[in-house]
């Protein structure tokens, strides 16, 4: 009770400090809440979209992508008759480029052309109309288009658009326009038309590419899926149940959810360091009061409670204000981008609990050390007029412990013989926290070193007498440590994100040599069309290299890692004409692709591939599966069952896999494939039954530009939706996109630095307060106002310098660890690229923010008159 009273008075007495600390916690908690709530809202929107896309679908059947065989009428008819099926929604989906009202081709990404039966138009689809209406017949040349297409083609209800084809353009009259949630931004825009019309245009009557089944309640979806598989044979159809779809969806979101939590955690850590340093200041300044309290009968427990109570009180108030503020941020976002959260704002209860309870718990933990120090405060020490600061031994031990803790993570990461999963867990749950604590441990030594090393440099830059800066920081050692640590967190995250991220971005490389032009046919091409393509005059010998793609299932599921660290389920297998790709061994046949071999050599690998059932794999495999040249990978194939493929060579990166993902060639956004392997076209066709070709590449005349080439290609093939892209530009595009994403994520690190700035203000205010009398003496001796202000700013700069050393050092070390780990996780061996420019900016920002945070107290002190400075400290604590 008395403790509560003392606490209340103390907080009121240091109103500014309490307010700034609360503000830091508030902002940090609000970030957690904002990030998790935004994410929950996006997830809600995604569910909404999924709901509209699948409705009450219990089972979805689609043909196997690689084989391109469609679902036939007989299968659909059998399903319609089945009593377990309540409703059948059979669709045909194609991809095409579009012609506008004047029959002019529109250069844009290909659109999804979706043929549906009129009776299967859902209420949600009706609600999504923003103009016109849905067609009500199953035939006829009518279409409902998405808003984006309407904008791009500059058409509306009543206008027409065209679908080009070898047999002549199909003209469709637009009867309705659909709005689409932002969520689907990356999906191809869609044109809906009666299914019979689409089938007629495709020249494939009674074939379907997507069948959605709504089952009666008593039906067992899994049993039925198994039954269908058995009837048509393995691998012909892909069948997905509602449960498995849900699982895939959830699994993909799991990693992102973790990220949304982690983002705010950064600011939380910074805020907790501020709590630590605020409490430390309080304890140091009150050493006399605390001693007196002990003398008149306060127990150690009461003193400790006083300090812990302060930490918890600040955290509770900050958290209580942070939660609504976070929701406010999301509301603001929702107001600014009304279509982002199409399912409305979904409050993340888990995020709020995590943010609030996490901060309070962490603040409690952060108050333990100051509380312990306070409760140990010696009565007699406090009563002697000049209490001597004690340091030396304990700082030394802290430093040693710090170094040991810092060394832990590299040890866990680099020691050979630790299992992959164990290593990941150890890194995340032991190494990472140990590194952070270790950095705080060495901070005191660094602060003392900074006093010795930086002070003269800072004094020179700021035109100050160096002796004035001596012992500036070590006077309030632990508050400086806490503040510098808080400031460090953001910088450290920035360094890791940028270094690791940029290394990953530049680490993905195309093969050493690769054809100029990549061509993608989302619908696939048959052999005849490929042959036609070969006759295109701009293509240089040896012509077009066709690549068949499959995503085989592995016979053993070693990739069963949960959450964000999970392995790709499958790896893309590229089947290609190896003579054309790698040369046939003769002098004059120049290879189109040159790979960078880590194991094996091009000549042997080529020979082995030609024998069949051999593959070239990326380094990924050797890492993950502990395999090398000569080892056999077992694959489940639809036509030949389990087949062993022997590794013929190991290369740094197959490189083509990234391209595939970039072109959104797989519409299922629930499957990740991260690595590539190369085998022969014959192998893929024999074992996987692949007929259609989706990806091609060729060398073209130097004068050809991509657009012209694309147009010629379409004209020649008289086909829809073939895209061509400059391979070098793709690489550049990927780099730019990743860079942009990285910068976006880095704002989270900047937010943490901003939060920490509040701690700097606290420290400077405390420092000014404790030295007012001394400043008065200096002023009376003739120190100018300007010099006094610079003196105070210099302290902030030095705190920033300590934070910078910690942040850059710790960040680079962590990047090194992450880089090494990434080899195990994603399979790329990325050389570490350190973006020195960005790091320099980070340091500049840290120093700048620190100085800015000190500006107000510095000006305040400089403005106060000498006499009032001299008279300060009459009722010192």
């Amino acid at each position: 009770m008395a403790v509560a009273h003392l606490l209340n008075r103390h907080l009121r007495h240091h109103r500014t400090r309490a307010a700034l600390t609360i503000a830091a916690i508030m902002v940090a908690v609000s970030l957690v809440v904002a990030l998790t709530t935004s994410f929950a809202s996006l997830r809600g929107a995604a569910y909404d979209v999924l709901g509209t896309m699948y409705g009450s679908t219990d089972l979805q059947i689609s043909p196997d992508q690689q084989r391109g065989t469609m679902i036939d009428e007989a299968t659909v008819a059998a399903l319609r008759k089945d009593d377990r099926v309540r409703h059948v929604d059979a669709r045909r989906v194609a991809t095409s480029s579009l012609l506008d009202a004047d029959d002019k081709a529109v250069h844009w990404r290909p659109s999804s052309i979706i043929g549906i039966e009129a009776e299967n138009i859902s209420q949600a689809s009706v609600d999504a109309l923003i103009g016109g209406q849905w067609f009500d017949q199953s035939g006829g040349e009518v279409a409902v288009i998405e808003e984006k297409i309407a904008e791009k083609l500059k058409i509306g209800v009543g206008d027409s658009l065209g679908l080009p084809s070898p047999t002549g353009t199909l003209r469709l009259k637009v009867v309705g326009v659909l709005g689409r949630p932002d969520m689907l931004h990356f999906e191809a825009p869609a044109v809906y038309l009666p299914i019979a019309t689409l089938q007629r245009w495709l020249g494939e009557a009674d074939t379907y590419s997507e069948v959605k089944l709504d089952l009666v309640d008593s039906a067992d979806a899994d049993a039925m899926a198994a039954e269908i598989q058995q009837r048509v044979g393995p691998g012909v159809y892909q069948i997905e149940t509602a449960a498995s779809r849900q699982r895939n969806f959830e699994r993909n979101f799991a990693g992102l959810t973790v990220l949304s939590y982690l983002g705010g955690t950064l600011s939380m850590i910074a805020a907790v360091f501020i709590v630590f340093s605020a409490l430390t200041m309080g304890v140091t300044e009150r050493s006399r009061s605390l001693g007196m309290l002990r003398a008149i009968g306060a127990t150690r427990g009461q003193i400790a409670t006083l300090v812990i109570g302060e930490g918890v009180a600040l955290a509770v108030i900050g958290a209580a204000m942070g939660v609504p503020l976070g929701v406010g941020w999301v509301m603001l976002l929702n107001w600014m981008y009304p279509r982002l959260f199409s399912a409305g704002v979904v409050f993340s209860f888990g995020g709020a609990v995590y943010g609030a309870a996490g901060t309070i718990t962490a603040a409690l933990a952060a108050s333990l050390l100051p509380a312990w120090v306070a409760s140990r405060s010696d009565v007699l020490d406090a009563l002697t007029v000049t209490s001597r600061p004690r340091k030396g031994r304990s700082t030394m031990w802290c430093g040693i412990a710090g170094v040991v803790l810092i060394a832990l993570d590299p040890l866990l990461v680099f020691t050979p013989g630790i299992g992959r999963e164990l290593r990941m867990d150890a890194h995340l749950f032991i190494g990472l926290p140990a590194l952070l604590i270790g950095l705080v441990g060495i901070a005191p030594l660094l602060v003392i070193a900074a006093d010795r090393l930086f002070s003269s440099a800072v004094a020179r830059v700021m035109k100050l007498e160096p002796t004035l800066l001596r012992q500036q920081l070590s006077g309030g050692l632990w508050r400086t440590v806490g503040t510098a640590a808080g400031l460090m967190v953001g910088l450290l995250a920035l360094v890791v994100l940028q270094t690791h991220g940029r290394s990953m971005a530049t680490g993905w490389s195309m093969p050493a040599k690769f054809p100029d032009m990549l061509m993608v046919a989302p619908m696939g091409l048959d052999q005849q069309q490929i042959d036609t393509m070969q006759t295109l005059e701009q293509i240089r010998p040896p012509g077009v290299l066709a690549m068949a793609m499959v995503t085989p299932q592995f016979a053993t599921n070693i990739f069963g890692l949960g959450g964000m660290m999970k392995m790709p389920e499958g790896t893309m297998l590229f089947g290609m004409d190896t003579d054309r790709a790698f040369g046939d061994g003769s002098e004059d046949a120049e290879p189109m692709i040159e790979l960078q071999y880590i194991e094996g050599d091009p000549a042997t690998a080529r020979k082995l591939l030609k024998q069949g059932h051999h593959v070239i794999v990326s380094e990924h495999y050797t890492r993950v599966k502990g395999m090398g040249v000569g080892d056999v990978i077992k694959l489940n194939t639809p036509l030949s069952g389990e087949v062993g493929y022997t590794i013929a060579g190991v290369v740094r990166s197959v490189g083509i896999d990234m391209v595939v993902r970039l072109f959104e060639m797989r519409r299922e956004f629930d499957r990740f494939t991260a690595a590539g392997a190369i085998t022969t076209l014959e192998d893929v066709q024999r074992d996987f039954g692949t007929q259609r070709i989706y990806l091609m590449c060729a060398n073209v005349d130097a004068s050809v530009n991509k657009r012209q080439f694309e147009r010629r290609l379409r004209d020649k093939l008289r086909t829809w939706g073939v895209l061509a892209a400059d391979a070098r530009k793709i690489k550049r595009g990927v780099d730019t996109a990743l860079g942009g994403l990285l910068d976006l994520i880095s704002t989270i690190a900047l937010a943490a630095i901003g939060v920490a700035a509040l701690g700097v203000t606290n420290t400077i205010i405390a420092s000014v307060r404790s030295r007012r009398w001394q400043m008065g003496v200096l002023r009376s001796l003739g120190l100018t106002r300007g010099a006094l202000m610079r003196l105070i700013l210099a302290e902030a700069v030095m705190i920033g310098a300590v934070a910078s050393v910690l942040g850059i050092g710790g960040g680079l070390l962590l990047s090194l660890d992450a880089n090494h780990l990434s080899i195990e996780i994603i399979g790329y061996v990325v050389p570490l690229t350190i973006p020195w420019g960005v790091l320099a900016m980070g340091v500049g920002l840290t120093l700048g923010v620190a100085m800015l945070a000190a500006l107000r107290p510095a000006i305040g002190a400089a403005r106060s008159d000498t006499l009032s400075l001299l008279q300060a400290g009459r009722a010192s604590e």
Binding site: M1, R9, H13, M292, A295, I296, A298, V379, A875, S876
Partner: protein, 247 residues
């Protein structure tokens, strides 16, 4: 039972590798209702003796018995609670908690002991009233004069009705007028309220307010006196000077 019994008390300090014997075997008994002053030059061991009597630090050898209880037998927690109940402490300066008002400072020991706010505040106001500080009850220490601050500190020491009041140079920071009022207050408490006081000072004019006194030099008690025998402060000062010179 005697409020304070000190037997063969020895306390040594390490100072830059050199051993200092701050107390070298001190015996002292303070009877109930007594007002004893300890006089001595700076560094003679006065404060050390007082700190040992308060249980703020422990002797190297010897015994401190307060209200019949041997402090050496208590652990830190017991000692804290014991001090809260039996000992009132007054120091030379920085006695008060700056964030609390005068009345809250006075009430603090009772509040720390878990007293109900209403009760405690009433007692604290009554105490300030007695000390002539009723008008100053709601002022913070920074708004009080040095003498007033010391009187509030005395009030705080008295509020628990301790067995023993220990004061270390309570007038050390005060001018002579304020000094007299503090001394008068202490003497008054002793005569009319039966308080037992042990006070450290190096000023004969202050020591003269006590009933009895001891001289301490280099950690030894070298002389004792009785105020009824030494009838004026001037005479006491004379004796003090002689003591200092003969050592």
């Amino acid at each position: 039972m005697q409020p304070l019994v000190v037997e063969q008390l020895v306390r040594r300090f390490e100072q830059g590798g050199r051993r200092v014997e701050a107390l070298a075997g001190v015996d002292l008994v303070v009877e109930a209702g007594d007002f004893v002053s300890i006089m001595g030059a700076s560094g003679s061991g006065k404060s050390t003796l007082l700190h040992l009597a308060a249980g703020l630090t422990r002797p190297d050898s010897g015994r401190v018995v307060v209200a019949g209880q041997d402090l050496g037998a208590m652990n830190d927690k017991d000692l804290t609670l014991f001090r809260r109940q039996h000992i009132g402490l007054i120091f030379q300066s920085f006695n008060l908690i700056p964030t609390l008002t005068a009345v809250e400072n006075v009430a603090l020991p009772l509040r720390l002991a878990g007293g109900a706010a209403g009760d405690v505040m009433e007692q604290a106001h009554a105490m300030l009233d007695r000390l002539g500080l009723a008008q100053r009850a709601d002022h913070r220490p920074e708004a009080l004069s040095g003498g007033e601050q010391q009187r509030v500190a005395i009030g705080r020491a008295l509020i628990t009705h301790p067995t023993l009041i220990l004061a270390d140079e309570p007038t050390g920071n005060l001018d002579s007028a304020a000094s007299v009022s503090v001394c008068q207050l202490l003497r008054d408490l002793c005569e009319h309220d039966g308080a037992t006081i042990l006070m450290v000072t190096h000023e004969p004019s202050v020591a003269a307010w006590a009933k009895r006194g001891v001289f301490i030099a280099d950690g030894h008690i070298v002389d004792r006196f009785d105020s009824s025998v030494v009838d004026s402060a001037a005479a006491l000062a004379q004796r003090y000077q002689t003591m200092l010179q003969t050592r």
